[in-house]
Amino acid sequence: MSVYVGRRLLQSLVVLLGISVVVFVILHLTGDPTPLMLPLDASAEEISRFRRAMGFDDPLPVQYGRFLRGVLQGDFGNSLRHDEPALRLVFERIPATLELTAVALGIALLLAIPAGIVSAVFRNTALDYVSTVVALIGQAMPTFWLGIMLILVFAVGLHVLPSSGRGGLANLVLPALTLGLFTTARTMRLTRSALLEVLGQDYVRTARAKGVAEHRVVWKHALRNAAIPVITIVGLELGTLLGGAVITETIFAWPGVGRLSVQAIYNRDYPLVQASVFVLASTFVLVNLAVDLVYTYLDPRIRLG
């Protein structure tokens, strides 16, 4: 067990290091990042002064070493636009993003798991068809369009919910629904197929044959085993949700890391872009590490396998 945990920790470290390389490389894709970071009308002298000040004249490995040392000390440099440490700006926005993602995930699970169970238990009935069709449409619907349509109906048309900003519970409804829809659809289909697969297993047939009541078969025998793939996907869905947050936050003017990073890209504020991309990617890695460790503890087949 401790060997597995050690290997998993090491893997995560390697991935974090890789993330830092990618974040560094993005800025250097065009060779010289200086023109990207200065206004278009900057003079040649300003450009060369800025280039020296930022150390862009040094060899790339030297620059990466400096970047990595900064990252380890939590220093991504100052935001070019706000003149504040980039990392601090990102951390200020994290609670908003976490709130939105957590609520979206909560809504998704609350809707998807019961719907998936009902669909599987009442397979090939009208109930099953309706929820499957809804899930299929949900999976095909682009986040940004759903957001606009919800604003169109509930904010512009009916005037019942606010269309932007963060504040009370009412502000949270539309963005969380928008962000959660894709995850809802996918989790529902996964729950349905996982449960159907388990319901076809021999031990379920045995349980039925010996006269166990159907609701007990579903609750006691099938659901516990069907839960495993569903739990696994929750960690991975976080990646989908964080990516979706980039778009959802932009549409609903939600003051989170996603919107911050998109604005930073528009403003060519690259220290801020690097800090926010790094933080979002690392969050994903750390959460998945945590999910895996908890999971290992819960399921002996993985621990010993």
Binding site: V22, T143, I148, L152, T250, V262, L280
Partner: protein
């Protein structure tokens, strides 16, 4: 017996998709109603893209300020019918949606081709050789998956500048992981099968074993992934255009039309509604076709 070609031995029939097999596949897809729907949508979208200049009697870029923001079903004084209305510059929305299929399909096909080829090669190498090569690629996959995809694409295109080519390259290169993982899994199980073992035992070089025995068998899951991935790429492309870092205007893109529509949301609902419906129907069709392909070709495939 010394020189028996392994490839001549009837060890296992490799399912190649010859012409009759393609028709058999199409017939099986038609029998499933959802897959049929998907097939019809995909064919219709492909036709729209090919025939856009014939289907649309006017220039999708032609502005007519006098006819701006007209609702669906509007007939202009010159007798032009705007079935889905006009946008803020008086351009016909239906026409722009039909031309928008071109960008969606071009980006979709090209990016899937890049991602699919890259993923196929990496998956084959990783699965066949194993060891540190495999470790290296799988860690690269973890790194790739850690990034919120759309954010990575936005940041890279922000640096390189938005253009059709850059979008295809960025979306294509960063999409290899799904393919590589599935192909790798297939290769791992194929590697232990008798016909592959036999080919190796008689000394076929690795490249030949891979090309003759492994690739044809890994093709089916690859095709299913490629189909479903096309839907993802179309959504990513429209998201990039929506955020202003896609194919630059005035080229009609669904995402770009949505972004325009968002500005006029409170006065002209049709601007944002119809391009979104186009994305929804296209993606739904591709997904259903992909599901149908999976169910007919490889029901055990877990996605």
């Amino acid at each position: 017996m010394a020189n028996v070609s392994v490839d001549a031995l009837p060890l296992r029939k490799v399912p190649d998709l010859g012409q009759s097999e393609v028709w058999a596949l199409v017939r099986r897809l038609i029998r499933r109603r959802t897959a049929l729907f998907g097939l019809v949508v995909v064919v219709a979208v492909a036709f729209a893209a090919l025939l856009a200049p014939v289907l649309v009697p006017f220039d999708p870029l032609a502005q007519d300020i006098g006819q701006r923001l007209k609702p669906p079903g509007w007939i202009s004084p010159e007798g032009r019918a705007h079935w889905l209305g006009t946008d803020q510059l008086g351009r016909d929305i239906l026409g722009r949606i039909l031309f928008g299929t071109r960008i969606a399909l071009v980006v979709g096909l090209a990016a899937v081709a890049i991602a699919g080829t890259l993923g196929l090669i990496i998956g084959l190498v990783s699965g066949y050789f194993g060891g540190w090569v495999d470790d290296l690629f799988m860690r690269l996959a973890d790194i790739q998956l850690a990034f919120p995809f759309i954010l990575l694409a936005l940041a890279v295109i922000g640096v390189l500048g938005p253009s059709l080519r850059n979008i295809i390259v960025v979306v294509g290169i960063s999409g290899w992981v799904v393919y590589a993982r599935i192909v790798r899994g297939e290769v791992l199980s194929l590697r232990e099968r008798e016909f592959v073992q036999a080919a190796r035992a008689v000394g076929s070089p690795a490249a030949r074993v891979i090309a003759r025995h492994v690739v044809p068998n890994a093709f089916t899951p690859w095709l299913v992934i490629a189909t479903l991935d096309m839907a993802r790429v179309i959504i990513v492309e429209s998201a990039l255009s929506f955020l202003g870092l896609g194919v630059p205007p005035p080229t009609p893109t669904w995402g770009g039309m949505l972004a325009d529509g968002r500005v006029y949301m409170s006065t002209a609902w049709w601007l944002a509604t119809f391009p979104g419906l186009a994305i929804l129907v296209t993606v739904l069709g591709i997904n259903l076709l992909g599901d149908g392909l999976r169910d007919t070709l490889d029901p055990r495939l877990k996605l």
